[in-house]
Symmetry: C2
Subunit: 331 residues, 2 copies
C-alpha cells in the first residue's frame, strides 16, 4: 500500500487538520468531527447537513459553504459517522429554520441519521431527511437495502442548498431534494479497486484486462466483470444502462455528471465525457448543464460514474445559483 | 495498461472533443488544436497564451477563461505543441494589445514558442514571453536545460491573467509574470510512475516501499530514490527542500499550492497539506493563500508537489481577483 498518510488510524483526523489549514472559511471541529461554515446561515434559514464515511472527498466536506451544505460529518474511512456527530452538527447550524439531513442510502448512515433526528427532535430542532438512492446497478448490495446513494448526492446538495439559501422553508427544501433524487440515476465502472488504509490491500482483484461494471463507491460488487474496452464502448454501455432505467424521452434535458472515482486523470474523464455526450445526442437527450471531475470518489479507485438528472427550469435555476465551497464554486 | 481511452493515437483529440462538449464557454478548434475563450478579450487587452504537452490537465486547457488564459495549445501527450498552433492561438486572441506566451522550461516548448514568436512578429503581433522554471530538484534534466517549469505555472498564469484583465499593457503583464516565477519554487515526490498511452507501461519502476524524490512532471528522474515514509516526514523534507532554495525568512508570506500528480486522492492531499502547514508554521512562514488539488498533473502518477510563491500585497490582490475557468473559479 502506497499512500500519503501518517497512519491508517489517523488518516481522517490528519485530513481534517489539513482541511482546516487550507480553508479558513470553514470551522473544523476535529474533536466532534463536524465541518461547518465559519459564518452561520441567516436566521431562520433551513440548514443542510450531510455526512458519510470518509474516502469520498470532496464529498461531503468539500461541499460545505454558501449555496450548498451548512455542515458535514465525516466518518472513518468507508464507515458511517455516529449520531453524536450529526446531532452536534444540527445544533451548530440550526438558526431556527430546522435542519435537512441529506443521507446516502447505506444501512449504517440511514440508521445513524434517523437516531440523530430523534435526538434533535428532543431538543426541539426540526429535522427533515432526504434519502439519496440513485445507483441503478443493483437492487440490494453489501451495505445497502435498496439502491445505493452515489453521484446524485452532489446534485441534491447543490439544488437543495441553493433553494435553502433563497429562504425556502425546510419542508420545501426537503421536497425539492426528494424530487432531484427521484429525477436522478447513476451507474459506475471500475478499472481498479480502492485500498482502504486500515486494510492495506485492494478491496477486490481485477485482472489487467477486466473492469467491474456497476461497482459501488466502497467497491461493492456490481453487475458483472467485463472486458476492458475502448472508452466509446464503455461510455455507450453506461449511458444505455442509465437511460434504460431512467425513462428519459427524446427532447428531455439533463444535468450530466461524469465523475472520476479518485485516481482517474482528467484527460481520461474528458475522453469519457465526449463519448457520453455523443451517445446522449444519439438518444436525442440534451445536456443542459454538465460537470466533469473527481467529485464523489472511492479513495484511489480508477474508473468513472455517470449521473443524469432530468432538468427543468426550476432545477437549472438552482443549479446555476451561486455556490462557494472548496470543491464547487461559481457565481 | 488500464485507461479510459479509445486509442493512444486519438486520446488528445478525443479529450478535446469532450472538453468542447462540457464547456460551451470555450471555443475548441480541434483541427488547429487551439482552445480559447468563446468570447474574446476586450480590444487592446494583453492576451495570454500558454501550452505544452497534454497529460498535465487541467493545465493548460482548464485554465482558459476570464481572469486567466485567453488560449491554450495542447500538444500530444508529454510532447510540445508545434509553432503553428501557437501562431494560430496568437492570431485568434490578439485584440491589438499583443500576446504573452507563458512557457514552461522544456527544450521543445522553448524552441517552438520562440519560433512562433518570430512568425507572429512577422504578422505585426507583439509578443512577450515568460519562462517558468520553478522546480528546484535538479539543474538540468531529461528534456530541459536549466530548471524545469512545474507548479508555479498556475500561479504565473493566475496572477498575470488577472493583471491583463485589469488592462495593464503587455510589458507590465510580462514583467509581473517574471516576478511571480522568480518568487516561486517547487519540489515533487512520486509514489508511482505515469503510463504514457502510446508507451503502454509505467515510465519507471518503483518498488512498493520507495518513492522518487524530486521527480519531474513527465517522470524525469529526481534527486534520489528514498524509502516511503509517513506523510509528516515526506512533507517536512519537501518543505525544507523548497525553503533551503527559496531564501524565505521568518515572517514572510506565501501562496502555497499542494498539488496532486493526477492519481492522488484528495483525502491524501489534505493530509499532506496539514503537514506542510505545520512545517511552515515551525519555520514562521505564513500561508497567506493556499490551493489543494490535482492541478499540474502527470497522467496517472501518484504523488504530490509543493509550490511556494513569496506573496506581497500586489500579488495577493491579483490572486484574489475573479477567475472563471473550468478548473479555477472564484469571484
Amino acid at each position: 500500500m502506497k499512500k500519503l498518510i501518517n497512519s491508517p488510524e489517523t488518516v481522517v483526523a490528519d485530513a481534517l487538520a489539513g482541511l482546516a489549514a487550507a480553508h479558513p472559511e470553514l470551522a473544523v471541529d476535529t474533536a466532534a468531527r463536524v465541518v461547518r461554515r465559519a459564518r452561520p446561515g441567516a436566521p431562520g434559514k433551513a440548514a443542510l447537513v450531510s455526512g458519510g464515511g470518509s474516502g469520498h472527498e470532496p464529498l461531503h466536506v468539500g461541499f460545505v459553504g454558501p449555496g450548498m451544505l451548512d455542515a458535514a460529518c465525516p466518518g472513518e474511512v468507508f464507515t458511517s459517522p455516529v449520531p453524536d456527530q450529526m446531532l452536534a452538527a444540527a445544533r451548530a447550524v440550526d438558526t431556527g429554520g430546522g435542519v435537512l439531513f441529506v443521507v446516502k442510502n447505506y444501512t449504517g448512515d440511514v440508521m445513524n441519521f434517523a437516531l440523530a433526528a430523534e435526538l434533535a427532535a428532543e431538543e426541539d430542532i426540526e429535522v427533515a431527511t432526504v434519502l439519496v438512492d440513485d445507483d441503478v446497478a443493483v437492487q440490494d448490495s453489501t451495505f445497502t437495502a435498496g439502491r445505493r446513494g452515489t453521484g446524485a448526492t452532489l446534485v441534491v446538495e447543490k439544488a437543495a442548498g441553493a433553494l435553502a439559501e433563497l429562504g425556502a422553508p425546510l419542508a420545501e427544501v426537503a421536497a425539492l431534494g426528494r424530487r432531484v433524487n427521484a429525477a436522478s440515476r447513476s451507474y459506475a465502472v471500475a478499472l481498479t479497486a480502492a485500498t482502504v488504509p486500515a486494510v492495506g490491500r485492494p478491496g477486490f482483484d481485477l485482472p489487467e484486462d477486466e473492469i467491474e461494471a456497476g461497482v459501488g463507491i466502497h467497491g461493492e460488487p456490481g453487475r458483472r466483470r467485463e472486458p476492458l474496452r475502448p472508452a466509446r464502448e464503455l461510455a455507450a454501455e453506461v449511458v444505455d444502462t442509465v437511460l434504460a432505467d431512467h425513462g428519459l424521452a427524446p427532447g428531455d434535458e439533463v444535468i450530466a455528471l461524469v465523475n472520476g472515482m479518485g485516481a482517474t486523470p482528467l484527460l481520461e474523464l474528458y475522453v469519457v465525457f465526449g463519448e457520453v455526450a455523443a451517445r446522449l445526442a444519439d438518444a436525442e437527450v440534451r445536456i443542459a448543464r454538465s460537470l466533469v471531475g473527481n467529485y464523489v470518489t472511492s479513495l484511489d479507485m480508477a474508473g468513472f460514474s455517470l449521473t443524469l438528472t432530468r432538468a427543468d427550469a426550476e432545477l437549472l435555476r438552482l443549479w446555476d445559483a451561486p455556490v462557494a465551497t472548496p470543491a464547487l464554486t461559481w457565481s
